[in-house]
C-alpha cells in the first residue's frame, strides 16, 4: 500500500508542470478565442534555446530562463502582431491553419538545426531526490517544476487582476470595440498578451527539457497535454489549469501504476473523455 504513495506524490508534482504547459494556451483562447496549434512546438523551441545557452555558457539550464523568457516574449509579440492579428476575425479556421503551418515550420526548422537526436537539459538537480519516509522520495526536478508552476500561475493571476495591462486585456476580451473606446489599442494588446503567453511557454519549455527528453517533434505531445488540461479544467480558467493539470497527471500515473507503463497515456485520455462526456465545458469552464 505504501507503494501507491510515490505515484500519488509524483502526480501532484507533475500536475504543476502540466498546469504551466497549459496556461499559455488557455490564456490565448480566453482572450482572443485563438487556438494556437504551435503552442507545443514553441515550448520545445524554448527547450532548444535553453540547450544552446546552457551548453555555450556552461550555466545550469535554470539560469537560461532569464534569457529564454524575454526572447519568447518577442517571439510571441511578433507572431501575434505580424501574423495572427491579420487572421483574427469571426471564423476560427484561419488562425488554426496559420498556427498549424507555424507548427510544421518550427518542427522542421528544429530538425534541420539540431538533428533528430534526443536531447535533455542536465543540471545538478537532475538525479537528486529528497527522501521523505521509507521508500517515498521527492524527485527534486519534479518539485522544482511544481513550485515554478505555482509561481507562474500566481504571478499571472495578479497581473490580470491588478495591472492596467492585465485589466485592459480582460476588457478587450469582453468587448473589443468598447475597449478601443477606452483608448486601448486592441491589436497591440493582443500582441502583448501573446508575448506573455509565450513567456509562460518559455518557462514550460525549460522545465520540460529538464524533466524529460525532447526531440524536434516532441511539441504536439505537449500540445495534447495542454489540451487535456484545459478540457478537464475548463477553458479560460486559471484555477482550471491547476486542477486539470493535477487530474490529468494523477490519471496518467495511477494508470501506469495499476495497469503498467504502457497504459500511462491511455489512462489520461480515458479520464479526459469521461470529463468531456459528463461536463463538456470543463470543471471550472466559463466559455
Amino acid at each position: 500500500m505504501q507503494d501507491i504513495l510515490q505515484p500519488i506524490l509524483n502526480g501532484i508534482l507533475l500536475g504543476g508542470l502540466y498546469a504551466v504547459i497549459a496556461i499559455g494556451l488557455s490564456t490565448m483562447f480566453g482572450i482572443v478565442k485563438l487556438v494556437n496549434l504551435a503552442h507545443g512546438d514553441l515550448m520545445i523551441l524554448s527547450s532548444y534555446l535553453s540547450l544552446v545557452l546552457a551548453s555555450s555558457t556552461g550555466l545550469s539550464p535554470y539560469w537560461t530562463i532569464l534569457a529564454v523568457v524575454p526572447v519568447m516574449y518577442f517571439v510571441g509579440f511578433f507572431v501575434q502582431g505580424l501574423l495572427l492579428n491579420r487572421v483574427l476575425g469571426k471564423e476560427m479556421e484561419p488562425p488554426l491553419l496559420v498556427t498549424f503551418g507555424l507548427s510544421i515550420i518550427l518542427q522542421n526548422l528544429l530538425l534541420l538545426i539540431f538533428t533528430p537526436d534526443a536531447r535533455s537539459l542536465m543540471s545538478s538537480l537532475t538525479l537528486k531526490t529528497i527522501p521523505v519516509t521509507g521508500s517515498l522520495n521527492i524527485p527534486v526536478v519534479y518539485l522544482v517544476d511544481f513550485l515554478a508552476g505555482l509561481a507562474v500561475i500566481f504571478c499571472l493571476y495578479y497581473f490580470f487582476q491588478k495591472s492596467y495591462l492585465g485589466r485592459a486585456i480582460r476588457a478587450a476580451s469582453d468587448d473589443e470595440s468598447a475597449a478601443q473606446l477606452m483608448g486601448i489599442n486592441t491589436k497591440n494588446i493582443y500582441a502583448k498578451a501573446m508575448g506573455i503567453a509565450m513567456m509562460t511557454a518559455g518557462i514550460a519549455g525549460v522545465l520540460i527539457g529538464t524533466t524529460f527528453t525532447f526531440y524536434p517533434h516532441t511539441g504536439p505531445q505537449y500540445l495534447i497535454v495542454a489540451f487535456g488540461v484545459i478540457v478537464i479544467g475548463g477553458f479560460g480558467s486559471m484555477k482550471g489549469c491547476f486542477v486539470g493539470g493535477f487530474i490529468l497527471a494523477m490519471a496518467q500515473l495511477m494508470g501506469s501504476h495499476f495497469l503498467g507503463p504502457g497504459y500511462q497515456l491511455l489512462s489520461g485520455y480515458v479520464v479526459l473523455l469521461i470529463v468531456l462526456a459528463l461536463r463538456p465545458q470543463g470543471i471550472f469552464g466559463t466559455v
Binding site: Y164, R167, A168, R170, A171, D174, D175, S177, A178, A179, Q180, L181, M182, G183, I184, N185, T186
Partner: protein, 238 residues
Amino acid sequence: MAETVALQVSGLDVHYKDFQALWDVSVQVAHGRVVSIIGANGAGKSTLLNTTSGLFTPTRGTIEFHGNRIDGQPPHETVARGISLVPEGRRVFPRLTVYENLFIGSYTPQSRPGREQALATIYELFPVLKDRRDQMADTLSGGEQQMLAIGRALMSEPKLILCDEISLGLAPVIIAGIYKRLKQINTEGITIVLVEQDITRSLKAADYTYILLEGKVVLEGQPGVLTEEQVKKAYFGI
C-alpha cells in the same frame, strides 16, 4: 457671437459595404454646449457617433475636433484627443467590477495621473457606483449600468462626450436623474452631444438640435425657435 467650434462634421458619407447610412451630413457643435441629434430608428444617429469616435471610416467628408482632422483615426487615438463615447446599449465590461470598469476608463496616459481625483468626482456624481464598486458590472440594473457607462467615459477626462441613446430602456425617474447629472457635467465645461429617440427630453436639454431622417439632416435649429409641428414633421418625414 463667435463661439469656438468643438466638433465640425462636414459633408459626411458613411457606407456599410453597399448600404449608405449617412448622406452629406454636416453638424457643428460649439464648445461647452449641449447639442442633440434626434431621429427615428435607423436614421443614422449611432453611425454618426461611431464614425466620430473612429469605429468607422467615412467614405467622404471630414470630421474636425478643435480644428484637427480626426476622421479615419482609430478609436484609441480619438479618445486620446479628448472625445469619449457612451455607446448604445452601454457596453460595460461584464466580467470586470464597477471599480475596474472605471479604472480602465483612465487607460490613456494623460488621464492616469488624475485617476483618483476623477474617481472621487464620479462617485460623488453617482453615489450608487461607489456602493457597488466591487460588484461585477453585469449584476447592475439598467440605470446603474448607464451611470457606469457615463462615469467610465468621464474617466478619460474628455472635452467632448458623445451619448448614444442613454435613456433607452430606463424608467423616467432614472432618466431624469441622469439628465440632471449631465447638466452638471456640462456646466463644468464639457461639451455634450446627445443622441436620442425621445424628442421632448432631448429638446429640453439641448442648446441646438439636428434632426436626422434616413441618413440625412432634414432640420436643424435652436429648440426654443423650432416649433413642435416642424420637429414632428421632420422626424417622421411627413
